[in-house]
Symmetry: D2
Subunit: 345 residues, 4 copies
């Protein structure tokens, strides 16, 4: 059994990790920390876990995380970088669900996240946890930078087109929509039910932290210089993410060739579902599951190709992807503990 610790278990990615790990056949939940909730049984905060998770939160200094085999950080940016060096030195693997190790470039990190990076020496060692494009590296990794939710959809959607050199890498437009849980479990007026229900809006249009992550990783994976306009929007639903990805074709290619390209790319990816050409994937078809679904469109058979991508932002976009990485790091079947079927309706 893999002994698992979770730092910061009171947010949505934390409780989602608990939901998944509590039924994972190879995992023993060992510790979960929260300074504020020290001593509180986890199931008192999240009644969905009553009878299923017996752990209580413990203050960080009381939890001996060095006894774990792997520690997940479901924390705000900046926490993992403070604790990862000691854990790694103790032989504990680390999966950071925040952004501390997502950007290889320290200056870019500090510009976008407005905090100094305290262990830049780990940036090169950290492995970007997007299994579909980086599986081998993850298998040998000690430190995982779990991808952002939006970047997961954008990278998997654009990668085949960029890799094949079919589109103008300098003119990508990603119009993306997320459920409200993406904003986290924080007491804020903007995400109150009465503010975000029966409403739709864009946010951070001038610049969002997931733009540099996506552009940099796509360049690493495809060796193409990427220029990306990324526009996030807030949808009145709890979970779910829908990315509408636009690209301009620069070569002659048939729709069948496009479809084959995507199917070939993801034929061995258990969590990527390439739907028939012209499908309209719905976010609910992934609700609660680790599946990401996508479909191709080409309006008027013109030179614009559209990739529609959906996922559950808390599963494939966060906690599920992190468990997927853990499975690979520990030599388990990639799908272990991740076979939940989406809740529909």
């Amino acid at each position: 059994m893999i002994k698992v610790g979770i730092v910061g278990g009171t947010g949505y990615t934390g409780v989602e990790l608990l939901r998944l790990l509590a039924v994972h056949p190879d995992v023993q939940l060992t510790a979960i920390t929260s300074r504020k909730e020290d001593g509180l049984p986890v199931a008192d905060m999240f009644p969905s876990l009553r009878g299923r998770v017996a752990l209580a939160f413990s203050a960080p200094e009381k939890a001996d995380l060095s006894q774990c085999d792997v520690v997940f950080f479901a924390t705000p940016h900046g926490v993992a970088m403070a604790q990862a060096p000691a854990l790694l030195a103790a032989g504990v693997k680390v999966v950071d669900l925040a952004a501390d190790f997502r950007l290889k470039d320290q200056a870019s990190f500090e510009q976008w996240y407005k905090i100094p990076h305290t262990c830049p020496e780990l940036l090169e060692q950290a492995v970007y946890g997007l299994a579909e494009l980086n599986r081998e590296a993850i298998q040998g990794a000690s430190l995982i930078a779990n991808p952002g939710c939006y970047p997961t959809t954008m990278q998997l959607g654009y990668y085949p087109l960029l890799k094949a050199g079919l589109i103008d890498a300098g003119a990508l437009i990603a119009d993306c929509k997320s459920g409200v849980s993406g904003a986290g479990r924080k007491a804020e007026i903007g995400t109150l039910f009465s503010e975000s229900s029966d409403n739709f809006k864009a946010y951070s249009v001038a610049g969002h932290r997931h733009t540099p992550e996506t552009a940099a990783q796509l360049q690493r994976f495809t060796e193409q210089k990427v220029d990306l306009v990324f526009t996030p929007h807030l949808v009145p639903m709890i979970r779910g993410m829908h990315s509408t990805l636009y690209a301009r074709l620069t070569k002659e290619v048939s729709n069948e060739e496009l479809q084959s390209l995507f199917e070939a790319q993801y034929k061995d990816a258990p969590f990527v579902d390439v739907m028939p050409f012209g499908s309209h994937p719905e976010t609910r078809s992934t609700r609660g599951s680790n599946m990401l679904r996508m479909a191709l469109h080409r309006p008027g058979n013109g030179n614009t190709v559209i990739v529609l991508v959906v996922q559950d932002n808390l599963v494939k976009g966060a906690a599920g992807q992190a468990v997927q990485c853990m499975n690979l790091m520990f030599g388990l079947e990639e799908t272990t503990g991740l076979t939940q079927i989406a809740l529909m309706p």
Copy 2:
């Protein structure tokens, strides 16, 4: 023109007062206070008011509320009692949308609201602003205690039955449901979209502040000793309140007589709609309007009578009712500025 001031305009009852008063033909919005937002144009906080309300918030000490004809308090409990005496002394009428003057009994107030009452001498002078049962007193009032949202529905629903002596006043069960806006515009985790959407729960079942208000007022209005079990629930919708009121008949009475009793009671009430016997009123039929609708049921023609009551908790349950009181206090037609039709769908 009536010069109107609003204390505490940043919450949901505040912005709802603004929506109603901005189109009221006899009102001139004169001042709106908020210590925290001093100087901020109201329309910057509430874009729905862009081009319609030119006022900016001002700190309380800068706003000369004594120049107003009437001041509405859309504030937490305890604010109105601090400022009302001076305003009344200056000849300004006061409408408190909070609970400071709802309970005539000081001890009961202090027990339920956990704060000392600082001007108990005004409790007797304060007039309970439920126009349908207290119209004359409101017309002559200087200080209005605007009723709570739940109590409005419970009083109007139970009153005809109690007044006629048809039911057991000692065995009332009110099962009530409210939209989330009733919790106010406060940064709290419990009313986040991701917490209260796609969910339903009861709250404060052990005891809610609206129980003593309702019981005491019903006793005043009907001279019957009332014992009330009141169970509030939270519905995943922004606005709307639905009260399902149960009572045990103690006299022989036909359904036609019951229906006639209610129709006669409210035939001159412009904001109470007694629907046909056996109807199922929907909250959305009142969304954004000052109408309250109700319908009678008698399952199996047994001795239980059910009154279903719906309203918009922010209009008839709060801001609209306050404007209705203002109209009466200033000798205007009761419906002035309150003729909005519900938004449906």
Copy 3:
């Protein structure tokens, strides 16, 4: 492996059976019928099942259901009674998720469901599938009448009080609320998003089919003559049911005794969670799981006791309960394939 057939797989209880049975370790999905969708792969209708369920719908006459070990009817009322006799004669067990066998009294059935009963001889043989109160009978059954969603909550909530003779069985008031999926997957205006979102209403207050089912079963289980006022309401959420059960205590009893009574009753029931006295269970704590949670209240320590009960109407209220029955009928552990943790948020 248990060979399972499903009749009527295009509704919400049908797809929910598929979600549960597709991951059940002892089940082999063998046939699923739909006259209208003959030949259509199930996953084309429900993309959540892509890659997980390979079956296609087949017309009833093509599907050889007699080869199954058990057949679930997720159909409108009246279908199971037409097909059950032949299946039972062929040695196939039958679980009806509709109402055909819920009422032992043929006249009552025909009065409430407005259709003649075509195999009344099976009514006595049919076993009511409420495992928590009827486990032994279910283990030996060939024909299961799966309980209605509302009746499940009402029976489990009232049973301990009635059985112990603590309450007035002639004055039960059940104020119940259901998510919209309870209305089924039918093209109707009343359950359109634009009609039932941001809205709350009661329905069928004059009389609902779940009243006679609940009253009759409670009488069978407790031997008390039950009189029940049951008021259903529609909540703008997909899944979830919340019953607020009122009863009048007729004996002296402490809150601790009440709590102990319930805990003792359900200590061996893996899907009933008796929460601490005074808790407010939320429907979302059961979303997607087979758990039913309940909590006791006693406002003002008076003579009214309130039981709050929540469940997912499609799982414990329908498909999950049916699988629970199947597990018992085939000698499996009661929880097999039903260990999903609720999705929260």
Copy 4:
């Protein structure tokens, strides 16, 4: 008083016309037709209108629409073209809220709407009812083609940029999102609450009827050859439309110049609100009102300009815009009867 008839009053645009016209100071509601609901009081179908609209539906052959001054068609495509010629001949003005007269090109109409056009001779006479770009023509019109909801946002958002020749007219990408009421009040599974709540999806990506309308009208208004990729999506909210419009700048221009361009264009348009550069308009800021709000963005100060546009699809996107046209046609102030403030929250 203007005598108004409505053909097809049972859908969402119909009831929205009633909500607006019932409080319009210069209108007398004269007739409302529905074959199916002949004789039913309008308020029985829409309880929000109880006490406010006394009319009953009447069968088309009973309603003498020729006595009206103006008739609104809130019908499926194809109805207005059948009745408009006779009404126009009788001197009655006609406003069609469907698409019968939106496309000047008969062949294009028949290709996209799959029905023959029965009065092509009226296509040239029909005036496109987008007041902000076509005010004078509307003032003199007898027959109005009320714009589609999406086209309203796309035209008002792109027009200033195209007119000024600042962008590549051959590379417009409009990513648009609509509330569910846009799908109408029809009994269909796809728009059930349980299907479209807590979900997000694109639809008709291969081609939507609003593409040719928008492209053709923009060409008429700007004399530029427009090529448009338009992608509609469905948002789980009742009302509201958000268009995210992308364009590539082809000339040097500062953000201040862009902002001034838009402000100048719409300074006399009472229902267009150009918000400060970089704002994020929310759909709810227009809920129930005839306002359309927009804001400009330029990510990274690059060559992509984004226009965010929001409106209530049933008001400015349908019924409100139709009333705005009526006001102009009858020489009234453009804003008469359309001063409702958005409902927020």
